[in-house]
């Protein structure tokens, strides 16, 4: 599969092409261009380090949205076995933007809830660009309850631009679907791990994001509002998305500092789409380690910790003593 370069990857792409041309030329005409090849290879290494070592927030957002990036079902195929998808919210429809089901992970039964985007027009029509309707969130909750009932941990793979802003979404109460998930996930009696694998778009992401451990891939983002929408509100113009992305502190690195996420899962150089196997291996081992940790904690203790984890969020000045007493 040819990987489509992003705008900022152009210098790397150009060098790669020149290198390829040189090699072909050298083979075809039997000329020794080894020194030239070596020089370009060195330059390529430097350029890669330069570009990928200094990614801006906006560049990471672009990587997170890359259409060739591994999506939830790619991870399910590679990290899990015996995937058994469960369809429908038993009320209205099956939301194809949120595949949910049962799978084996490392010999352990678990519940997997996801967002799934499409790679081409046809897939995107089916997956609605990973933007779920209320049915998706309601299906996810129904399936999570199976995890509680049959004592299976829950793994949530988040990758959505946001919940779908549409007429049907509002008519069937997307707000309530998300709100109920927030309330129920806080008290769900099963270990929960959430991983933001691509886009963590606001309430639509949080709607399956209340968990004991929240992981994020190195180039994924998680934000209260999309950089474009933030730009439209603050600058009255969508063209300031790059500045908005910076201001929103939405990268994995920023979120770790804010303690919104617990761990960053490393990606192969240039992004997960460049090496599915490494990306899968890294996510798999992070899930394995965290699952082992939280599975050991007695469920009542785990629920207490989960509540506290989300209760602590916030930054303000004022009477802290009252907080402490209110929490006890």
């Amino acid at each position: 599969m040819d990987i489509q370069p992003l705008d900022f990857e152009k210098p790397i792409f150009d060098l790669e092409r020149r290198l390829q041309d040189l090699k072909t030329h050298s083979d075809k005409h039997d000329v020794d261009l080894d020194s030239a090849v070596a020089a370009i290879e060195a330059k390529l290494r430097d350029t890669r380090r330069q570009v990928y070592g200094n990614l801006t927030a906006w560049q990471r957002v672009q990587i997170a949205r890359h259409t060739q990036r591994p999506f939830a079902l790619d991870y399910i195929e590679r990290c899990f076995t015996d995937w058994s998808e469960l369809h429908g919210d038993r009320r209205f429809a099956d939301d194809r933007a949120m595949p949910c089901g049962l799978a084996m992970f490392d010999g352990q039964r678990c519940v997997v809830i996801t967002h799934q985007k499409g790679r081409n027009t046809k897939e995107n029509v089916m997956r609605n660009f990973g933007c779920a309707h209320p049915e998706g969130y309601r299906k996810a909750l129904r399936v999570m309850w199976l995890g509680e009932k049959f004592r299976m941990p829950i793994i949530s793979l988040i990758d959505t631009p946001g919940a779908y802003p549409g007429i049907g979404s509002e008519e069937r109460h997307i707000s309530e679907a998300i709100a109920v998930n927030l309330r129920e996930m806080i008290r769900l009696r099963a270990p929960i791990i959430a991983a933001v694998i691509g886009e963590g778009g606001s309430g639509g992401a949080l709607g399956i994001g209340v968990a004991d451990r929240v992981l994020i891939l190195e180039n994924a983002y998680y934000s209260v509002i999309s950089p474009e929408a933030c730009s439209a509100i603050l600058w009255r113009d969508r063209r300031h998305a790059a500045e908005a992305a910076e201001a929103l502190k939405l990268t994995a690195q920023d979120l770790l500092k804010l303690e919104v996420v617990d761990e960053i899962v490393p990606e192969p150089e240039g992004g997960a789409h460049r090496d599915y196997d490494t990306a899968t291996k890294n996510l798999g081992s992070a899930l394995r380690r965290n699952l082992a940790q939280i599975s050991k904690i007695p469920i009542d203790e785990l629920l207490k910790q989960r509540y506290e984890k989300f209760r602590r969020f916030g930054s303000f000045t004022g009477d802290k003593a009252a907080t402490a007493s209110a929490r006890s």
């Binding site: 919940a163 779908y164 802003p165 549409g166 007429i167 979404s169 509002e170 008519e171 069937r172 109460h173 997307i174 707000s175 309530e176 998300i178 709100a179 109920v180 927030l182 309330r183 129920e184 806080i186 008290r187 606001s202 309430g203 949080l206 709607g207 994001g209 209340v210 998680y222 934000s223 209260v224 509002i225 929408a229 933030c230 509100i233 603050l234 600058w235 500045e243 908005a244 910076e246 201001a247 929103l248 502190k249 939405l250 979120l255 804010l258 919104v260 509540y307 989300f310 209760r311 969020f313 916030g314 930054s315 303000f316 000045t317 004022g318 009477d319 009252a322 907080t323 209110a326 929490r327």
Partner: protein, 281 residues
């Protein structure tokens, strides 16, 4: 010389909030010009067409609670510019501006008081402060209100109005949705009532958390209530929006809220509900 002359009086530009008493407001419902003083006396409901104007949180508390019973809690909590937000305007400047124009520290007033004899924990959002967006302080004060209600075993009442999560505090704002909903989970487990009152407008992050989780959900007439903004929906779907889309009446028709209650009947209606839920008033 003409007998009639256009008056040369110009509307003074500036902050809406600073309109001194005795001036007039144009009703968005019927276009009638209503004296401010008459509006305040009428709980900011248009005397001609019943349009519900935005009501400052302080006035609302006075109208809902028994006189002199409100005790404010956590009044000193102040937002911090934790992200050092850089944009067209800085968060610090915005906060300063709204603190001056509203006299509030943030977009909610919370505490406890007596409503028609019932003790209640109550939080009222004030749309005049940065569109009552929910950042850390709003989330914290609402959570503490709920926790107070749970600890004191009394009902929780939240009067919502909000443009959603406050983007100036980034993901910490989004997390307030989980925090407030978590507190409501515990309140519900303690079998204590929570009444959610939605006013114009209540949207996005607040609707997708505590706004939608009431045992009973009440809306004021003609309030705009929804998840996504109508403009975003129109741009995304390229569809014409149905009539009265995202109004309280639309939500009632679709079975999403329990009732629509006129502001002047709100206190009485909440009291009646509490009489069912609170065993010993």
């Amino acid at each position: 010389m003409p007998i009639f002359k256009k008056p040369t009086i110009k509307a003074e530009s500036g902050r809406k909030r600073e309109i001194p008493r005795g001036l007039f407001q144009k009703c968005p419902g019927c276009a009638e010009v209503v004296p401010e003083i008459e509006l305040v006396q009428n709980q900011r409901v248009c005397p001609r067409c019943d349009y519900h104007f935005a009501q400052p949180a302080k006035e609302r508390l006075q109208n809902l609670l028994d006189p002199e019973t409100f005790v404010e809690m956590d009044a000193d909590l102040k937002s911090v510019d934790v992200l050092r937000f850089q944009g067209m305007v800085t968060y610090k400047d915005r906060l300063k501006k709204y603190r001056e124009s509203t006299g509030l520290l943030d977009a909610v007033i919370s505490g406890y008081g007596i409503l028609d004899g019932y003790k209640v924990a109550i939080a009222v959002m004030d749309f005049g402060f940065l569109a009552a967006t929910m950042g850390s302080v709003v989330g914290e004060r609402i959570t503490r209100t709920i926790e107070y209600g749970t600890a004191e075993r009394c009902a929780v009442i939240i009067v919502a109005a909000s443009g959603g999560a406050r983007m100036y505090e980034g993901m910490l704002s989004l997390m307030q949705m989980a925090k407030t909903s978590g507190a409501l989970a515990r309140h519900a487990e303690a079998r204590l009532p929570y009444i959610s009152v939605l006013t114009n407008p209540t949207t996005a992050g607040v609707m997708a958390s505590f706004g939608s989780l009431g045992d009973v959900i009440i809306a004021e007439p003609r309030s705009m209530i929804g998840f996504a903004g109508p403009r975003v929906i129109k741009e995304t779907t390229h569809q014409d929006l149905p009539q009265r889309f995202q109004t309280a009446e639309f939500l009632e028709e679709h079975g999403l809220i329990d009732m629509i209650v006129h502001r002047k009947k709100m206190r009485e209606q909440i009291s009646r509900l509490l009489s069912y839920f609170v065993v010993t008033p």
